[in-house]
């Protein structure tokens, strides 16, 4: 266990290093103009540009620049090329928003996905199963940004049932917080609900034909016990791990579109804007944060998986 974690940590560092180098290169090797000039503002003078260059180390060799930038990013002192704002502060600012969105949506999609998937599996082959299948497939086919824009306009502005975007901190007004997030949660969750219900359905069907389910019946357990203790429990194991991974991906930037459409101004939206501006420090920081989150969660997921399913070995 300890060795597993240590090894995974080492792997994690390698992956994070590669991610940071890659991000850095994407923005530095590909010609896209001189950030010093970009930072200098509307009518800069040559000496000004020089000063910025020296300050940010743009004149140094790439590896040195990389080290300088990463030092700033990891040390929390990196500032945006453009807004000059501290990047870490901005991420910390955006994190509650992203987490509010991700946690709520994740809970929603898990519950709804499991409920619908189980229902479909129990009704397998019948009309209601077909209907649920089609619904699930429609769910996974809906582009978030489109659905979000329509929902925000029609249900938010037009009908006035929901706020048309924006965020209210949980600490400020929990009800209003939830009210602002209902639409984003739903829109983000729909894709996953479709997906999870399909996965769960096929897991349940597979599990139902397992020998140990037959054993459970032969023991004289009630159908309910068979379903909950044996079928669902085993079917949920892969879903739980998926859930962890998806949650990680959503926090790490998978919710960019949702955040943007509903103007939640979370970490994802922050990154998306920074990317558009070729603003390297925030992009690096958010990517590192995201990658870190994904890698950590996938490690956690592996451990949880091994705990839930004792057969799994950690490698």
């Amino acid at each position: 266990m300890t060795r597993f974690v240590v090894r995974r940590l080492a792997q994690m560092l390698v992956v994070l290093f590669a991610v940071s180098v890659l991000t850095f290169l994407i923005f530095n090797v590909i010609p896209n103009g001189d950030p010093a000039v970009r930072m200098a503002g509307k009518t800069p003078t040559e000496s000004q540009v020089e000063a910025i260059r020296a300050d940010w180390g743009f004149d140094d060799s790439l590896p040195v620049q990389y080290v300088t930038t990463m030092e700033k990013v990891l040390g929390g002192s990196a500032i945006s090329y453009f807004s000059q704002l501290n990047v870490r502060d901005q991420i910390v600012e955006g994190l509650p928003r992203t987490l509010s969105l991700a946690v709520g949506a994740a809970v929603l999609w898990m519950l709804a996905g499991v409920a619908l998937g189980l229902l479909a599996a129990l009704r397998a082959g019948r009309l209601s199963d077909r209907l649920l299948t089609v619904l699930a497939l429609v769910g996974v086919s809906l582009p978030v940004f489109w659905l979000g824009a329509l929902a925000s306009y029609y249900l938010g502005f037009k009908a006035g049932w929901f706020p048309n975007g924006g965020y209210v901190p949980l600490t400020e007004d929990p009800l209003d917080w939830a009210h602002h997030l209902v639409l984003p949660w739903t829109v983000l969750a729909i894709l996953f609900i479709g997906f999870y219900s399909r996965v769960l359905r096929s897991n349940v069907l597979d599990t139902m034909s397992e020998d140990y389910v037959r054993t459970a019946r032969a023991k004289g357990l009630s159908e309910r016990q068979v379903l909950l203790r044996h079928v669902l429990r085993n079917s949920l194991i892969p879903i739980v791990t998926l859930w962890g991974l998806d949650f990680g991906a959503v926090v790490a930037g998978g919710a960019i579109l949702t955040e943007t459409v509903f103007d939640l101004q979370g970490v994802g939206q922050y990154a998306a804007e920074a990317v558009g501006q070729l603003d390297v420090p925030p992009v690096l920081a958010v990517t590192m944060f995201g990658a870190f989150f994904i890698v950590v969660l996938s490690t956690v997921v592996d451990i949880v998986y091994a705990i839930l399913d004792p057969r799994i070995r950690l490698t």
């Binding site: 597993f4 020998d211 054993t215 032969a218 004289g220 357990l221 016990q225 429990r233 705990i307 004792p310």
Partner: protein
């Protein structure tokens, strides 16, 4: 509800039902079961009638797919979830079960009728603790607390012979060996003191030595509890050993039902006779074999070692481990001879076979083929030898690429050795004929063939380049008994015609006896005994060989009681990651002494060509 406490010894007497006025425990009448499928209904059971009295052991035998399992499952109402349609009647103690409500059935299942399945690994929920799975059943039927149920579960595990039951109850199924798992299944079946126990091929997945133990256990329990037992099997040895009465099934029907002696003495139905004839027996006369050819061995293994690294598991503190799957084996196969290699599962037979043809790298020792050391030969260097050194695999389904036509499968070695497409096609045709298939089969896909036919294709592929040695890794283990005989005959014929040498790997001692000139016995990666076939079976020197032989059920009910009890080794093969010190067999050996625990016995000659690795050989004593 006063469920008898199976854990207590004196419960036995109370449990025996007075034979209730001729009313059998279970009476099945004209049972028919069909499964609706897209391509029409499958009539899996077609008119089965059975009677089973309390305390009686009825064996239900028949070939694969004849409907044995479906019959058993239907009795418990377990084919219902699969959408089966049933006709006829199933009377259990005067109650009709076929149209019983799900709730009524639920109360019968587990409590009155319990079932043990074939594959104990897949039949146990992999993510629940063994003890909990047993307790669950008790809780479903009896008004006890969770703690009481768990306590009972531990008792039951002890009762079926699981050592350190309390610790085992906390474990997960994968942590138990195959035999232990089946014991746990039996413990579960017994947990509520059933009157009827249905055991569906309870030993098919187990090694002979373990099979003997499990059968003993079932018999003991039957004697103790007086429950009726319906034992499903395809092995007439098991039938002869166990059954009071036998029902022979074929194509969904019972074709013969009689007391066991009668069936063996005078089988009435042709199907019964056919099944009996196909059973290999240790007491058959040995087939006449040519004297073993002399000369330089085709294959020589010298101190061969293969070790695999093993990975750790979560939350378990194993140090870095290796499995010494093959541990210093020295062996030679002479031209034209068949060397049989037997051993229980996990003893390293397959590993040895694969290392012999250099499919895996040995970690020690040497492999020589026709006098040439090929231990470190590169792929390129091996290439010319491949034509002379071939292998046939165990799994007739896995060894043929499902996405290639037979012509391409059999033709692959030819093409690799530079034959043109046309030449290879012609050769494929002759090869197919040679192994008893039609040349037209060349255009078919593997899935269009039966298991036996596939194994023939595999043999054709091995023969494509006229090899000198063919390594056969359990070539018949996956086949039905009757098909086994055909393949064995084919191999025999080919050997005679082509002068092939075989390294014939099998776990079934009876089959090995039929085909081999010499036999080698392996245990935990080590050779225990090597001897000419007649020597080995008649005068085994190693206690392990003797135990293996003793564990084989004899398909003759009249010899049932003469079986030497107690020779069968107790316990199961230890984990190969942690082999015992000294003689690896000592923990299970009745003759073991201190020296066995400390000193590894060398493979020593006991008579001409008879080698054994034992400190206390049986020569003198027996």
């Amino acid at each position: 509800m006063s469920a008898p406490h199976v854990g207590s010894a004196d419960a036995t007497a109370a449990r025996v039902d007075p034979p209730g006025a001729g009313e059998p425990l279970l009476a099945v009448r004209d049972l028919a079961v069909s499964f609706p499928t897209e391509s029409g209904a499958i009539r899996a059971v077609d008119g089965v009638s059975l009677d089973l009295a309390a305390g009686e052991l009825l064996a239900l035998v028949g070939g694969s797919g004849c409907g044995k399992s479906v019959t058993a499952l239907t009795v418990m109402g377990l084919t219902r979830p699969q959408g089966a349609r049933t006709e006829g009647s199933v009377h259990y103690r005067g109650r009709e079960l076929l149209d019983a409500s799900e709730d009524e059935l639920r109360r019968v299942r587990g409590a009155e009728i319990a079932m043990v399945f074939q594959d104990p690994l897949s039949s146990l929920n992999p993510v629940l603790r063994v003890g909990d799975q047993i307790a669950e059943q008790i809780l479903a039927h009896e008004d006890v607390t969770r703690a009481q149920a768990r306590e009972r579960a531990v008792e039951l595990l002890g009762r079926v012979g699981i050592p350190a039951a309390a610790r085992r109850a906390e474990g997960f199924p994968y942590e138990l060996s195959g035999g232990m798992r089946q014991r746990a299944m039996i413990a579960m079946a017994l947990s509520c003191g059933p009157r009827l126990l249905i055991a569906d091929e309870p030993t098919t997945a187990l090694d002979v030595t373990v099979q003997a133990q499990i059968l003993d256990l079932i018999r003991e329990l039957r004697d103790e509890t007086g429950a009726g037992v319906l034992l499903i099997t395809h092995d007439f040895g098991v039938v002869a050993e166990m059954a009071d009465r036998v029902a022979v099934m074929d194509a969904g029907r019972i074709v013969e039902q009689a007391p066991v002696e009668e069936v063996f003495a005078a089988p009435r139905h042709p199907r019964t006779r056919a099944l009996l004839d196909a059973v290999p027996r240790l007491d058959d006369p040995l087939p006449a074999r040519r004297p073993p050819a002399e000369g330089e061995p085709v294959l020589a293994l010298d101190g061969l070692e293969v070790a695999f690294p093993v990975r750790r598991r979560l939350l378990r503190r194993d140090s870095d481990l290796t499995v010494r799957a093959v541990d210093g084996v020295t062996l030679a196969v002479r031209p034209g001879e068949t060397l049989g290699l037997v051993g229980e599962s996990g003893s390293g037979k397959t590993t040895l076979a694969r290392a012999a043809v250099r499919l895996i790298e040995p970690t020690g020792g040497t492999v020589s083929f026709a006098g040439r050391d090929i231990t470190a030969a590169s792929r390129r260097e091996l290439q010319p030898l491949r034509s002379e050194l071939q292998i046939v695999f165990q799994d007739p389904f896995g060894s043929l690429n499902p996405r290639k036509r037979v012509a391409d499968i059999v033709g692959l070695p030819l093409r690799l050795h530079g034959l043109s497409k046309r030449d290879s096609a012609a050769r494929v045709a002759t090869l197919l004929e040679r192994v008893g298939l039609e040349p037209e089969h060349a255009d078919r896909w593997p899935h269009e063939f039966s298991g036996g036919q596939r194994q023939r294709i595999g043999i054709a592929r091995a023969l494509a380049l006229s090899p000198r040695l063919v390594v056969l890794d359990e070539p018949v283990s996956a086949l039905d008994v009757s098909v086994q005989t055909q393949i064995v005959d084919l191999l025999d014929e080919l050997q005679r015609e082509l002068g092939l040498a075989y390294l014939f790997v099998a776990h079934d001692l009876s089959v090995v006896r039929q085909v081999s000139d010499r036999v080698a016995v392996m245990y935990l990666g080590k050779l225990m005994e090597v001897a000419p076939v007649a020597e080995l079976y008649e005068r085994p020197v190693h206690p392990y060989t003797a135990a293996l032989l003793a564990a084989i059920p004899v398909p003759d009910p009249s010899r049932r009681d003469r079986r030497v009890r107690g020779v069968a080794p107790s316990g199961e093969p230890p984990s190969p990651t942690d082999p015992p010190s000294g003689c690896v067999f000592h923990p299970r050996c009745p003759r073991a002494t201190d020296v066995c625990r400390e000193v590894v016995p060398p493979l020593a000659a006991h008579s001409d060509g008879h080698l054994a690795a034992c400190h206390h050989p049986l020569t003198a004593a027996s």
